[in-house]
């Protein structure tokens, strides 16, 4: 669908016709191919390697494990993708995840609220966080990275204040039962992640508002002149990333049977690695969410495979960091090529 499909060449009389863009060299074409499909090649290579190296890798149970392991970061990566396409990076997602976990757990355990109400309050709180992020960026005009970094610090402290730094265990098993249930043998979080990717895919590729996200990220003044509500798009992306992080927090709480203020620490780096591996780039205006999904799966496969091969956890952490750096480099190269 990304290839110039129904584009029957627009050709008429040759007089006054404009020439094609300059041709590209062979090396450039190879480079473009690697940038475009390198991640898919790497993913397939990793799957083949781990399948040979470990007899457990390709079992149904293990594949479900991978899916479950990446579902929370996947949900957030999908939302971050939309934000980055609009040109806004939200680094507060990990902290929002922690806050949501605390709010959900406290609501059920300490205040004895029914589970759906506690969940609803957590979502409302995350919406307020998203609103504040958006207002600080759009109305006050502060850089999004600074705003969300400050927000992350504040929320971590605030969450710890709420519980006295403790993790709150939930005795009522309703949320756990729901999150850990497996309709058709597949855990609920995977359904939620797939659904969010599906909805956001349709949003970005098929709706006017989704197209405006690209326009705003690509050239905000052109978008403004074309009558697009640029500020509303920005505000919307911060609401989206906050809600996605909140859903991540609720799932984490359900899986752990508890909610703590330090849940989701460093989550933004896993998410960013996946998104950058998907070639979304920090420049805005470009990127496809299906590539983010591939990036998320790649990281899940890597983590899972290294664990199956009993690779030392320090080594794993090093590998993760190296992959992050690689992803950033790829993103920088892609950006440079685009703005040539």
């Amino acid at each position: 669908m990304s290839t110039p499909s129904s584009g029957a060449p627009v050709t008429t009389s040759v007089t006054g016709a404009l020439p094609l863009a300059p041709r590209r060299s062979g090396a450039r074409l190879v480079g473009d191919f690697l940038l475009e499909y390198g991640m898919f090649v790497a993913l397939v290579a990793l799957i083949v390697f781990f399948s040979i190296a470990s007899p457990y890798f390709l079992t149904q149970q293990n594949l479900i494990n991978i899916g479950l392991a990446v579902s929370i970061s996947g949900i957030m990566a999908a939302a971050i993708t939309v934000g980055l396409i609009a040109g806004q990076l939200d680094l507060s997602i990990g902290a929002v995840l922690g806050l949501s976990a605390v709010v959900t757990a406290l609501g059920i355990e300490k205040f004895g609220l029914p589970m759906p109400l506690a969940v609803a309050i957590a979502i409302a709180v995350s919406l307020v966080v998203g609103l504040i992020n958006g207002a600080l960026v759009v109305d006050v005009g502060i850089n999004a990275i600074i705003v969300t970094l400050a927000m992350a610090l504040t929320l971590r402290g605030f969450s710890a204040m709420l519980t006295g730094g403790q993790t709150v265990t939930i005795s009522d098993g309703l949320l756990q039962g729901l999150v850990n249930s497996r309709p058709l043998g597949i855990p609920v979080p995977i359904y939620i992640a797939v659904m969010i990717f599906g909805v956001l895919y349709v949003y970005l590729t098929r709706t006017r508002s989704g197209w405006h996200v690209y326009a705003v990220g690509g050239n905000s003044s052109a978008a403004l002149r074309a009558g697009i509500n640029v500020k509303m798009i920005y505000r919307g992306t911060f609401l989206l990333t906050a809600v996605a992080a909140c859903i991540g927090g609720i799932i984490s709480t359900g899986r752990a049977g508890a909610g703590g203020p330090f849940f989701g620490t460093g989550a933004e780096f896993d998410v960013l690695t996946a998104v950058l591996l998907g070639g979304i780039g920090l420049g805005g205006g470009a990127g496809r969410i299906e590539r983010t999904l591939a990036g998320v799966v790649l990281i899940g496969v890597l983590n899972n495979g290294l664990t199956l091969l009993s690779v030392d956890s320090y080594v794993q952490a090093t590998v993760r960091g190296a992959v992050f750096v690689l992803a950033v480099i790829l993103g920088a190269i892609a950006l440079k090529r685009r703005s040539r």
Binding site: P4, G7, P9, P19, H212, Y214
Partner: protein, 254 residues
């Protein structure tokens, strides 16, 4: 020429003034633009060209008293959107294209066609190809990102967008400023196509020679007023340059 047949001007500007504090940027500008006519506005820096353009595209509100009529109807151009709605479209010098998006997405920027709740990419592609064909513009595909296009092609895409908006009056601000000789030639060809379609065109240019052949009338501006309007056929480059530099013949030496 056709203007004698079609009596109503596409655009009438009557006594437009604009002051910024003590500075009189426009001191009462009046002219008519006929359907299918190319009017080139020339003048030195500070002559009032861009102020005039910004008034006509709805960016600046003129001082009260003057009037802008589109096809005989008085209009208040309070914003770029209103100006566009009135049938006056401006192609800005920076072109306002989203480089990462394809040609068809740029042509329909902010006005995407829909079928039900979703964008109708197929119809937008067909419409894009149609309008580019009308301009005899040759592209490999309307699905190419605009960043892959040359400067002239980008300019043509920006002009094609104006066609899609259905504007009668097209204002082009220095359309060939950043282009090489050949590219400029091709953009001028595209402007010729616009003219063939009966659009009225206001060109702002620094380069008299370049726009000479395509221009019907030159309007020379100096110090916020019109120094003179000349039919291209009966004018010489020298005469226009003299207008730009010295203003009315009465003031000019010799």
């Amino acid at each position: 020429m056709i203007d004698s047949v079609l009596a109503t001007p596409a655009l009438s500007v009557v006594d437009i003034r604009k002051t910024f504090g003590h500075v009189q940027a426009l001191r009462g500008v009046s002219f008519d633009l006929m359907p299918g006519e190319v009017l080139s506005i020339v003048g030195d820096n500070g002559a009032g060209k861009s102020t005039l353009i910004k008034v006509l595209s709805g960016v600046y509100t003129p001082d009260p008293g003057g009037q802008v009529r589109v096809r005989g109807e008085a209009k208040t151009l309070s914003s770029p959107t209103v100006a566009l709605g009135a049938g006056i479209a401006t192609v800005y010098q920076d072109l306002s294209l989203v480089d990462t998006r394809d040609v068809s997405a740029n042509l329909f920027l902010g006005r995407e066609l829909r079928r039900g709740p979703f964008v109708d990419s197929k119809r937008m592609i067909i419409e894009s190809e149609r309008v580019l064909n009308e301009l005899t513009m040759n592209l490999p595909s309307v699905r190419v990102p605009v960043s892959y296009l040359s400067g002239g092609q980008r300019q043509a895409v920006a002009i094609a967008r104006v066609l899609l908006h259905g504007a009668d009056v097209v204002i082009l601000d220095e359309p060939t400023a950043a282009l090489g000789v050949q590219e400029s030639r091709r953009v001028l060809d595209v402007i010729e196509r616009l003219k063939d379609q009966g659009k009225s065109i206001i060109l702002v240019s620094h380069n008299l020679q370049q726009v000479w052949d395509i221009t019907d009338r030159f309007m020379a501006m100096r110090l916020g007023a019109i120094a003179g309007i000349r039919e291209r056929q009966s004018a010489s480059v020298d005469e226009i340059v003299r207008l730009i530099v010295y203003g009315n013949e009465a003031d000019s030496p010799r």
